[in-house]
């Protein structure tokens, strides 16, 4: 996995050109291009796709610096410089929205990221092949349930009057809690349900990495009298470290984007103080109130922050001599 990424990600600034500059004469190259026309035809639909749905919106991002109006389009609307960014930074919601986004992102990294690794290490040590397969299949199945249904399940199971959880709380003599309607419960529910749904799916990647570790290492360690825990610590963990690093960097790179759809679904008027994140704010301000330029600016703020985080952590990983994206 790391290798695919390493090859296919954009070159970092300092990468030296690996190939010596051997240029074929132009007519020959044109001939080669002409001979490959069928390949270009095959690629055309995909190219049109990214041109229209990826690069055109990127080009349109300039409206973050303009006052967009539909008549003049992306390029015709008047420039206003950083006005929208300044307005966002000065708005009373800025601290709350950015804070919520970072909270959810950091909780996701600290709590949800390690759990699949632990699960994979445990499953990998199971003796019974059948139990191993069964565990894998069961833990992995919620990934196939849609986010809408998972959030719907949360609403019914956590319902204050009839939900399973509150019935259990009442049985134990507690007071029912209105989970979906309280800001302080938003984060725990969000993270727990995320683990419930996705940990098994992420686990599989680590299991694959573990299966690539040379069994001879384990045999040698066993002969030396190492316990399972010691072998996990000194063989398994170092063995999967490159994969962990790459997935961690990718998670960082997506830090501020993950879970947007779920946060939107989980939002109620009552938990808004904790559930309004940058992306949901963009959705509300942009699409529901039609403040296109303002919310495009906020979206751009989000994307740039993300990119900076990705570059920073990739740089840190490189300095630490771990696997990197490029």
């Amino acid at each position: 996995m790391s290798r695919i990424l390493a090859r296919s990600t954009p070159a970092a600034p300092p990468t030296p050109p690996t190939e010596p500059t051997r240029r074929t004469p132009l007519p020959l190259r044109l001939k080669k291009v002409a001979r490959s026309w069928q390949l270009y035809v095959l690629l055309t639909p995909a190219l049109i796709y990214i041109a229209v749905f990826k690069y055109w919106p990127m080009y349109g991002v300039q409206i973050a610096f303009r006052n967009y109006n539909p008549v003049d389009g992306f390029t015709g609307s008047p420039w206003v410089g950083l006005q929208h960014f300044i307005r966002f930074v000065n708005s009373y919601q800025f601290g709350q929205v950015v804070g919520n986004t970072l909270w959810i992102a950091v909780l996701g990294l600290v709590v949800a990221f390690p759990i699949p690794i632990v699960l994979a290490l445990l499953v990998n040590q199971l003796q019974s092949e059948r139990f191993k397969k069964f565990t894998q299949t069961v833990l992995y199945s919620p990934a196939f349930i849609s986010t809408v249904v998972v959030v719907g399940m949360m609403f019914v199971l956590l319902s204050p009057r009839s939900g399973l959880v509150n019935n259990a709380i009442q049985l134990a003599g507690g007071e029912p809690i209105f989970f979906m309607g309280s800001a302080e419960w938003f984060r725990p529910i969000y993270v727990i349900s995320d683990v419930w749904q996705n940990a098994g799916f992420s686990m599989i990647v680590y299991l694959a990495a573990l299966s690539g570790i040379d069994p001879a290492l384990h045999d040698a360690a066993k002969v030396d009298g190492a316990s399972k825990l010691q072998r996990i610590r000194h063989i398994d963990l170092p063995g999967i470290m490159p994969v962990v690093t790459v997935l961690f960097i990718l998670a960082i790179g997506n830090l501020l984007n993950v879970g947007f759809e779920k946060a939107l679904l989980m939002q109620t008027n009552l938990n808004l103080p904790a559930s309004e994140i940058i992306q949901t704010y963009v959705y509300h301000a942009g699409l529901q109130q039609a403040q296109f330029s303002y919310s495009a600016a906020i979206g751009l703020f989000n994307s740039v922050l993300n990119l900076v985080l990705l570059l920073t952590f990739n740089w840190v990983a490189r300095r630490a001599n771990q696997a990197t994206l490029w």
Binding site: L42, A46, Y49, N124, F144, V149, G152, A208
Partner: protein, 326 residues
């Protein structure tokens, strides 16, 4: 937009003796007795995994039994392990609800059309990019990869779709998320590793051009990849709601997930017959509505859950190709 959120990297571990186990394999003896530390570890591991399995399965199981139980029993917390007062009223109400049927029909259309478009585009594009002799391959690949790390954001994408006149059409659901770059990379590395260059040379000797070679040789050799791509997109389309949410206003075009969201999460109980004016019949309608929600969760997840064992095989087989190379 929702199509490339989940990296398709789920290879299952190989079937040989697993490195971490004490299973010495046929014809060998265990060199020494298991230590107490390992026994303690095994017990802990099995306990943790069993608890995780219960944590994953019980909510699902509860939803199933609650969906066939008397809503009053669920409400009073009498349903824990077996259904009580079995009734199929929830299911009857769903079957009678035209919105569900309409949503299901739309989802089927979006899924079939969207999968066909995505898979065709990805297979053709990935094959072209896998050809090392295609001029400009590196630059073209870079164009795709850049979009993984930076995108124009929600607002500009919305404006582009609007400018194209696609709002409230099938295309708005099917096209904007059609090509996931991650899937493209997986397909490309599949082609790179399974289609030998010699085969192409031989075919070219026999007079095959790139088209004939791709359609007559490459595609028949790529069945596991094609299956994988079809499945990834079927699952993604079946579960997606967000593009429909932002691009569709006409609720007769809503896919199933969006209908579910409106009923499950937004608690739109309009169709559940709140005819009686008095509080009692309102409360009864409210309970039936809850019952309907349980049934609805079951009905909407069942197809994928039934298909899961079958799909898992392909996910596993297919992604061994893309994810881990050594």
């Amino acid at each position: 937009m929702t199509l490339n959120t989940k990296p398709v990297a789920t290879p299952a571990p190989a079937q040989r003796n697993r490195p971490g186990t004490n299973d010495p394999g046929p014809g060998r003896t265990v060199p020494f007795r298991e230590k107490w530390a390992d026994k303690a570890f095994n017990i802990t591991a099995i306990t943790i995994l069993t608890l995780s399995i219960i944590a994953v399965v019980y909510p699902l199981y509860f939803i199933v039994i609650a969906s066939v139980s008397d809503p009053n029993a669920v409400y009073e917390g009498k349903v824990w392990l077996v259904p009580s007062g079995v009734t199929l009223e929830g299911y009857q109400r769903i079957l009678a609800d035209s919105r569900i049927w309409n949503g299901l029909g739309n989802t089927l259309v979006y899924t079939v059309l969207g999968t066909a478009i995505s898979v065709t585009t990805i297979l053709c594009g990935a094959y072209a990019l896998s050809r090392k002799d295609m001029p400009g391959r590196k630059i073209l690949m870079l164009l795709f990869v850049v979009t993984m790390f930076f995108d124009g954001g929600l607002i500009t994408k919305y404006l582009v779709v609007r400018d194209l006149g696609m709002l409230d059409t099938v295309w708005a659901v099917v096209l904007p998320g059609a090509v996931g770059v991650w899937n493209l990379i997986i397909a490309r590395s599949f082609f790179e590793h399974t289609i030998p260059g010699e085969l192409r040379e031989a075919a070219q000797m026999d007079g095959a051009n790139d088209f004939t070679f791709f359609f007559r040789m490459v595609l028949p050799l790529s069945k596991p990849l094609i299956m994988l791509m079809i499945m990834v997109h079927v699952v993604a389309h079946w579960n997606s709601f967000f593009d429909a949410l932002i691009f569709l206003n006409d609720d007769t075009k809503y896919p199933l997930q969006l209908v579910l969201r409106n009923i499950l999460i937004q608690s739109d109980v309009s169709s559940t017959g709140t005819t009686g004016g008095d509080i009692q019949s309102y409360a009864a309608a409210q309970r039936i509505a809850e019952l309907t929600k349980y049934a609805m969760i079951v009905v909407s997840s069942l197809p994928l859950m039934i298909a899961l064992p079958f799909m898992q095989k392909h996910f596993t087989k297919g992604t061994m190709i893309g994810a881990v190379k050594s």
